[in-house]
Structure formats: structure tokens, C-alpha cells
């Protein structure tokens, strides 16, 4: 078995040193009643090439974005991942290192996390970022815990235009943490600040999304102000790719900024693994879940990086931890850092502008009624397909095009609505093709 390095001779020598006759004897402390009596009922072992063939066959049963022209977004996006990201992630040291608890062995990982934290703070306008969370949904639950500790309040307010996946995860975590969740319904595709203000009274935090799930731009500064006036922490759930053109949450009064990092540097990969990001004002640093890397010096005075404020984490505070997170998403966050570094500030702005320009072109070319015509949008927008959404999708896919997400899956009264996403990977010709396929 090629992953094992022991030979027969090795085993015999080792058993002799241990002082037992057989490997079976090493398990003598296991009571007979729980010894597994047979072989595991698993399919036979495959050689490496058989593994590859088998997985290739499975992969071939999936229609990925290489095989279908796709305008599907709704939280996970087909953005371009540059080759340098792949190259860096294949470095065996990054790939196979553990959490950097021994700083002398892991300055590379620690420094890269420090650089990532800096990038997230720059994007979001916040003072401190953690080293990543599991994904864009669980960081919302994390934000609720922070808010509860900070304000002492137990109500969470969610905008209905916040991703359905995020809302569902928050509602799953809430009962165990003694939190009550209320939702503010959308009005014509966005959230009304006055309605939010009312709901935010006695709330620990308010979470809204920018751009929102419908692709619409929320009146984010007004929403943040409404929350602040009510004594609730404003939490913005943001698209990292939008932050070259859209204002940073830190600049308009938010307490926390969170989001799904996938659009920056990760492949879609059927939903994971990706990384969630969480950044906050400096006031809240001691309440932040997850790892944080800090700068320091070593005995010789050389600059060095180390995990810091670990007392917040599970292994010291134990039952008083602000979260139980241990493993996070370091490798995927590294991909995000590489991607943002490859783009640079000009590149990020251009990417955002390109998405917006192509999306505007798509709105024109499709010529189909917009669901929320009054709202400004970023890279996604909702259209009326003129027939039930799943039918429109089926018909389009028969012609090799996935036209977008059926909003009826999560929202009432949107029977024929499709959420169309246009990233910088789409061309004018692609959009013309979509228009052809969706034409009534």
C-alpha cells in the first residue's frame, strides 16, 4: 500500500522492540465486545490510475461551466482565477502545513495570514480581521455572537434580501445561543431604512447584504445609520469583488463586515471549500472568533509573526470561548490574498466596472422586463422570463446555456423571475447568445 512506508522487516523489528508477537496484540486493550469481527464492507482497493479513471467518469457526469455557458450566480460566482493562485496553492509547504502554533516553523503561513488580514481590512475599511471563517454563512452566525456579547441583547435582525443560505444558517445557530431572529421584508428589491429602524430597537445587530441577493444596491449608509441609532451593531455582508467600486462598510458606520470570499480567488467547486471573512472595528477585537495573527519580534529583535489573542479561542477559554472554531480555511484565504495581489487596486476596480458594464449590456440585449427596474445593480439582476422559471431554465439548458437562478426557490411571488449573473468571464457574444435563448 503505497502510502505506508513500513516493510515486513521493519514491522518484525518494531514488534520485537515493543515486546509483542503480532500487531493484533497491540489492540489487546480493546474489549472483545467492541472488536470489529469482519472486514469492512467497502469496494476493493483501486490503483492510482483506477482512481483517476473512476473519478474522471464521475466528473464527466457533471455539467460544469466549461461545458455550459453559465449566468448562474446567487452567492457562488464564476470569476476568473489566475494561474498564479494555482501555482501558490500547489506549494507543498502551504498545502501540507498545520495551524501555525509553533511560530518558528511557520513564519511563511503566519506572514501570509497577516497580509490577508491587512487586505480584508483594506477592502472593508475595518481595523481588524480574523484569519478566516468556514464560509459566508457561518461568519454571519459568528457576527451574531459578537453582537450579543457586546450589546447584551438577544435579538438579531436580518434583511430578507440577505442570501437565503446565510439566513438559514443564522436561524440554525440562533436557538443554541439564545438568540431570536426577525426578518425585514424587501420593498421593491431593497430594504427600507425606516422599517429596519423599527425592527432594530432592542436588537444586538442588523445584517444586510451589499449588493443584495437580488443583485440590487441597498441604501447601505442609511441602513447602517438606522441600526446605529437603535443601538444595534450594523453588519454588512459584502461581495469582495464589489469593493473596488462600492464604498467600504467601515466608511459608512458599520461595526462588522463579513462575506463569502469565494469570488476572490476560489473555484466554484460545488460550493466548497471556500472561506468566510470577518472584520470589525478595533473595539470588538477581544470578542472576535477565530484566529488572529499579530506582529512582534523574536529574541534577537527580528520581526516575526505569531497567533495572538489566543485566549479567545477554544483551547484556552474552553467554555468561555467566543466560538469553537479550530480548523478554518487558511489555504483558501491564501488564494484570496494571491488573487487580490494579482489584481491590485486598479485591477479590482476594473473588474468591478467590467461586471457592471457587461451586466448593463445584458439588461439591454435581453430586453426582458426587470423585476426591480428602479434599483441600481452590480453584477446580477432579476428579469421576468415570461414563463415559470424552471421551464425557462430547462429550455435554455437544452441549448447549452444556463440562464440564471430561479428566485421562486426562496421568495414568494417571483414565479417567473431569473437572477442573471454577468462576470468578467462573459463576453458580448455570450450575452447575445443568452438573449437569443431567452427570447420569448
Amino acid at each position: 500500500m503505497s502510502y505506508l512506508s513500513l516493510t515486513e522487516r521493519d514491522r518484525d523489528e518494531m514488534l520485537a522492540v515493543i515486546g509483542v508477537e503480532s500487531i493484533d496484540e497491540l489492540f489487546r486493550d480493546i474489549p472483545k465486545g467492541v472488536r470489529f469481527p469482519r472486514e469492512l464492507d467497502l469496494e476493493r482497493a483501486l490503483s492510482e490510475q483506477e482512481i483517476v479513471t473512476h473519478l474522471e467518469k464521475l466528473a464527466a457526469k457533471n455539467v460544469d461551466t466549461g461545458r455550459e455557458l453559465s449566468f448562474l450566480g446567487a452567492g457562488i460566482y464564476d470569476h476568473y482565477v489566475p494561474a498564479v493562485v494555482d501555482a501558490v496553492l500547489q506549494r507543498g509547504e502551504f498545502l501540507t502545513a498545520y495551524t501555525p502554533y509553533q511560530p518558528e516553523m511557520s513564519q511563511g503561513v503566519l506572514q501570509s495570514i497577516f497580509e490577508y488580514q491587512t487586505a480584508i481590512c483594506e477592502l472593508t475599511g475595518m481595523d481588524v480581521s480574523n484569519a478566516s471563517g468556514y464560509d459566508g454563512t457561518t461568519v454571519a452566525a459568528d457576527a451574531c455572537f459578537v453582537a450579543k456579547h457586546v450589546t447584551g441583547r438577544s435579538r438579531i435582525v436580518l434583511a430578507e434580501t440577505l442570501s437565503p443560505q446565510v439566513r438559514q444558517v443564522v436561524k440554525t445557530y440562533a436557538p443554541g445561543f439564545g438568540l431570536e431572529v426577525v426578518e425585514v421584508p424587501h420593498r421593491d428589491g431593497v430594504t427600507d431604512p425606516d422599517e429596519l429602524a423599527t425592527a432594530a430597537r432592542d436588537a444586538a445587530c442588523v445584517i444586510f447584504q451589499q449588493p443584495n441577493f437580488f443583485g440590487c444596491l441597498e441604501p447601505a449608509p442609511d441602513l447602517a445609520a438606522a441600526a446605529n441609532d437603535a443601538g444595534a451593531l450594523p453588519v454588512a455582508h459584502v461581495d469582495p469583488v464589489s469593493l473596488g467600486v462600492l464604498e467600504a462598510p467601515g466608511a459608512y458606520g458599520c461595526a462588522l463586515a463579513i462575506g463569502e470570499g469565494q469570488a476572490s480567488g476560489n473555484y466554484q467547486s460545488y460550493g466548497g471549500p471556500h472561506y468566510g471573512f470577518l472584520a470589525a472595528r478595533s473595539d470588538y477585537v477581544r470578542r472576535m472568533p477565530g484566529r488572529i495573527v499579530g506582529e512582534t519580534t523574536d529574541v534577537e529583535g527580528r520581526r516575526a509573526y505569531v497567533l495572538t489573542l489566543q485566549t479567545r479561542e477554544q483551547h484556552i477559554r474552553r467554555e468561555k470561548a467566543t466560538s469553537n472554531i479550530t480548523t478554518n480555511q487558511t489555504l483558501l484565504a491564501l488564494a484570496g490574498l494571491v488573487h487580490l495581489s494579482w489584481l491590485g487596486p486598479q485591477g479590482l476596480r476594473e473588474q468591478g466596472e467590467t461586471c457592471m458594464a457587461l451586466a448593463a449590456y445584458a439588461k439591454d440585449q435581453l430586453g426582458l422586463p426587470l423585476v426591480f427596474p428602479e434599483q441600481a445593480t452590480f453584477k446580477e439582476f432579476a428579469i421576468h422570463a415570461g414563463r415559470p422559471a424552471e421551464e425557462a431554465i430547462r429550455a435554455a439548458r437544452k441549448q447549452g446555456v444556463h440562464p440564471g437562478y430561479a428566485l421562486k426557490r426562496d421568495y414568494a411571488g417571483l414565479e417567473d423571475a431569473l437572477l442573471v449573473c454577468v462576470t468578467e468571464k462573459r463576453t458580448r457574444e455570450d450575452i447575445d447568445r443568452l438573449a437569443e435563448v431567452l427570447a420569448p
Binding site: 505506508l4 506582529e295 527580528r302
Partner: protein, 500 residues
């Protein structure tokens, strides 16, 4: 070494995006970005050099021996990287129609079947993103189960041993339960008398890893789980140490009702510097209705789908179906072993016992038993006689190009060194490690300052954790960035490192 921001030069750029000549819509003024983010400005050659430099200052399993107890730092097979990057997996959108995702759904379903067989429990969810999230999910399942039976208010306590991994108490608190500790007896088993006194009709369940963090299989496990079941409570198995017993003893047969796996420990998902991981759970049928949604199910022989119609589900703990790329790697890994998965555990236990046999006289062994896949030594004697601590041993091992073992965990052993070699190590590597550990004992007596000042051959020496905590510099501050090298060392050096 420079930070990437210090390598940055205004106007330099690696990316070039396709040109379009379309007008860019204007954004409402109040939503527009006023000041650009200060991201690095580098060319591609500069980028590659920077990250390559960083990687050479990082020690991975690919670099050398990594005996971190409870982390299972085994070799990460390269074929797994090839298959996870197949476009059919890599470029698949999670909201793709089911008929367009049959390969992904089938892979998940097959992995579920495999994990059920290994666990000895029939119902599996792959959704949790890591072991600690799996734990939380397990506790949520307990709550849902008891609430469904009208016992939600009365059953408030979870029992955990004093050797428990730190995530266990944190998970208990996060799910709204109360914690009760049970002691460990001199043989390293749970003290059953202590346990009996603490389990009653107010108990919801047990959280346990077996073998324990001491690397010992609890000899009374059948009685322990029976005590809980007799009281109407449930039992949860923390799968962090599953590498010891795959195909040898199944948690379901030990009497556990819920288990989580750590795909990044037992099933070779690379650790990536701290993640990603995967924490799927397997449960008894009575808990199946409460599993997260959606479930991956098979219709007939050939068709796989997502079942969202689960009225009693606890809900969703993570987006979509979970960390799919992790499933691909673990699935490929297990397919390489087939039913011979037990050879993995046998070799892991053999390697650990070999190291134990060769080191137990030079260091103190708190529990004189054969171990499973890992064992704990104490450096207490070295501390008493020469002032050398477990931390000093760890730092000196770095000079031999070994990653240190876990130190100061579990808390019940003073100056603990928790060593887990895993099954992929060669005997020569183990022998070299033993030689280093023995030389350290000699040096403790003869040249203690060598140990106290270790490591000598790494990019940095021991770091000032106190300064890091006090100064709180957690991002680059550009022209306001302080020069910490010019500031004096703050107080005493770090006293303790935390293990896994």
C-alpha cells in the same frame, strides 16, 4: 523578509483584464468607493517570488516529520490533488440543476455509505465544515431529539472528561448546554464511579473521544455508554482519534449514537496551514430525521438527488452541501485502501508503540499501557532536575528538522508531549526522532542553555508573545506601521505553547 505591501510599487500590476468598450454605469454617489483599497501592486514575477519565499519559511508534512498529537499529520497523496482539480468538480456550481450534478451527488452518496460502514452508524451528513462544526451539529441534534420528546427543558447537562479537546467545552456552551466534568482514573480510563454519580435524568449526553487524548482506549467503554443509555441520554464520539481504530473497532458498536469525522485528520485532506477541513457526522436512525438539510439521497439505482423535504431538520450549518472539494480528496483516499483501511490504523498504532517503547525510559510515562495511535510523555523530570520544560524540548527538536509534537495538552499531564507519528512514516524517520529526543535528554543535563535558547536554525528564534498581545498590531499600517524591533522585549518570554 519584506511584507508584500513593502514590495509594492505604485503603478505595478500583475493582472490584465479583457477589454470591452462598453459604458460603465454610474453608481449613486453615496454608494461609490471614495478611496481605493491599498492592495499590493506587484508584477507576476514579484508575486511568485514573494509567495515562494513565504513557502520556504513554512514547514509542512512534505518537508519533514510532523508528530503533532491529535492532528494526524499523515502524507497527503498527490493523486487527490489531481482529481479535485478535474473541471467537472472544480468548475461545478452548487446551484446547478440536479440532472447536471449527478457526478457530484453520486460521489457524496458513496462517501456517505463508506463513512456509515466505518462508523457503524447508518445515517450520514457531510455538511459540517470542520470537526468543531460537526460537534456543534451533533449537540444541536441532541437538543432537537430531546425537544421532540418533550425533554428539552429537563436535559441540560453534557458530560466530558477532563482530558477533552478544547473544542468540546466551547461547543457545549455554544449549543446552550451546561458542562459537567468527569475524572480520569490512574489507568487513563474514565473513572466509572465518578461517572455514575454524575449521570441522571438531567443529563443530555456524553462527549468523548476514544482512544482518548492520552492515546488510550477506554477499557470500560461498553459500560460507559450503557450508563448513559440507561439514563435516557445520548452519546457523542469525537472522531479526532479515529485513525487508531478504522476497521478495528467502530464507534457505533462501542455504543455511540453520533460521531463526527475529521476528514483533514483521518482521511488525508491537506491541512493547508489551518484549513480547510471537513467534519461529516454519522448518527443512529433515531436521530436521522433531525440531520441538516439538504440530504443526499439515491432514487433507485442510478439517480441521485437533494432532499429538501425534511420537516424535523435542525436546519443548515453551512452553505450548500458542505466542503465538496474535501469530499473528493477523502473519497479518492479511501478508494485507494478499500476494505484494507484497517492497515492504515494498524500501521499508525505500530509506529506509535514503537516510539513509545523506545522513549518511555528516557521520559516519564504517565500511564503504563500500550498506546493506540498516539501517546503522551511528561518532561516533568527534566524540569525538576535541570529546569528544562516541554517547551524547551519542542524548540530544540526544530533544530533537528522535526516539527515538535503537541505540548501542554492534555492538561492532566504536566509538561506534556503528545506524539502521533501516523502510519505513513518510515522506520528510519522514527529512529532519527528517537535519537534526537535522547540527545535532548543528555543535553538537558550537560548543555541546558543550548535547549533554553533553541531553536538556533530557524528563520526566527522564540517570539515575544507578550509584545504581540500588548501592541496588538494585526495588520500592516502603511506609513504608520510601528517598528517593533526598536521597542524592548516586553517582559518574560512566552511560557507556554498550545497544542492541537
Amino acid at each position: 523578509m519584506k511584507l508584500i505591501y513593502e514590495r509594492s510599487q505604485e503603478g505595478r500590476r500583475a493582472s490584465a483584464l479583457p477589454k470591452h468598450d462598453l459604458p460603465v454605469p454610474e453608481l449613486p454617489e453615496e454608494l461609490r468607493r471614495e478611496r481605493p483599497p491599498r492592495l499590493p501592486e506587484l508584477s507576476e514575477p514579484e508575486l511568485v517570488r514573494h509567495f515562494t519565499s513565504l513557502s520556504t519559511r513554512t514547514f509542512g508534512i512534505d518537508t519533514g516529520f510532523y508528530p503533532l498529537g491529535s492532528c494526524t499529520m499523515k502524507h497527503n497523496p498527490r493523486v487527490n490533488e489531481r482529481v479535485v482539480n478535474l473541471p467537472g468538480f472544480r468548475d461545478l456550481h452548487p446551484l446547478q440543476e440536479e440532472e447536471g450534478s449527478q457526478g457530484a451527488l453520486e460521489l457524496m452518496w458513496r462517501l456517505q455509505e463508506i463513512l456509515a460502514e466505518v462508523a457503524g452508524l447508518p445515517a450520514v451528513s457531510l455538511q459540517p465544515a470542520a470537526g468543531s462544526q460537526g460537534e456543534l451539529t451533533g449537540l444541536m441534534l441532541m437538543r432537537a431529539y430531546f425537544t421532540d420528546r418533550g425533554e428539552g427543558e429537563t436535559r441540560r447537562k453534557i458530560v466530558i472528561p477532563d482530558t477533552a479537546h478544547g473544542t468540546n467545552p466551547a461547543s457545549v456552551t455554544m449549543s446552550g448546554y451546561e458542562l459537567t466534568h468527569v475524572q480520569t482514573d490512574p489507568r487513563g480510563n474514565i473513572d466509572v464511579d465518578d461517572l455514575r454519580a454524575k449521570v441522571d435524568e438531567g443529563t443530555a449526553g456524553l462527549m468523548l473521544t476514544n482512544p482518548s487524548t492520552l492515546g488510550l482506549f477506554d477499557e470500560n467503554i461498553e459500560e460507559i455508554t450503557r450508563i448513559f443509555h440507561d439514563a435516557g441520554a445520548l452519546t457523542y464520539y469525537d472522531g479526532a482519534n479515529l485513525n487508531a481504530v478504522c476497521g478495528i473497532s467502530r464507534p457505533g458498536d462501542m455504543g455511540f449514537d453520533i460521531i463526527h469525522f475529521n476528514l483533514h485528520k483521518t482521511f488525508s485532506q491537506p491541512h493547508g496551514g489551518g484549513g480547510p477541513g471537513g467534519g461529516p457526522i454519522a448518527v443512529r436512525d433515531l436521530l436521522e430525521p433531525f440531520l441538516p438539510v439538504p440530504a443526499v439521497v439515491r432514487d433507485g439505482e442510478e439517480v441521485f438527488r437533494l432532499d429538501h423535504d425534511r420537516p424535523k431538520t435542525i436546519g443548515k450549518v453551512r452553505g450548500y452541501c458542505g466542503p465538496f472539494g474535501v469530499f473528493v480528496r477523502s473519497y479518492a483516499y479511501i478508494r485507494a485502501f478499500g476494505p484494507g483501511l484497517r492497515e492504515m490504523s494498524e500501521a499508525a498504532v505500530l509506529n506509535a508503540n514503537y516510539l513509545l517503547a523506545r522513549l518511555k525510559d528516557a521520559y516519564e510515562l504517565p500511564y503504563d499501557r500500550l498506546c493506540m495511535h498516539e501517546f503522551v510523555l511528561s518532561a516533568r523530570q527534566l524540569k525538576r532536575e535541570h529546569g528544562i520544560t516541554a517547551l524547551d524540548v519542542a524548540k530544540r527538536l526544530m533544530d533537528y528538522d522535526f516539527h515538535p509534537p503537541t505540548v501542554y495538552f492534555p492538561l492532566v499531564v504536566p509538561e506534556a508531549l503528545m506524539i502521533e507519528p501516523t502510519e505513513t512514516e518510515a522506520k528510519e524517520t522514527l529512529d532519527e526522532f528517537v535519537e534526537a529526543m535522547l540527545e535532548i535528554v543528555r543535553d538537558a543535563a550537560e548543555r541546558p542553555e543550548l535547549l533554553k535558547e533553541a531553536p538556533h536554525h530557524r528563520p526566527v528564534g522564540r517570539v515575544d508573545e507578550v509584545k504581540a498581545a500588548k501592541r496588538g498590531v494585526m495588520r500592516y499600517l502603511f506609513d504608520k506601521h510601528p517598528n517593533l524591533s526598536a521597542e524592548p522585549t516586553a517582559g518574560r518570554q512566552l511560557e507556554a505553547q498550545k497544542g492541537a
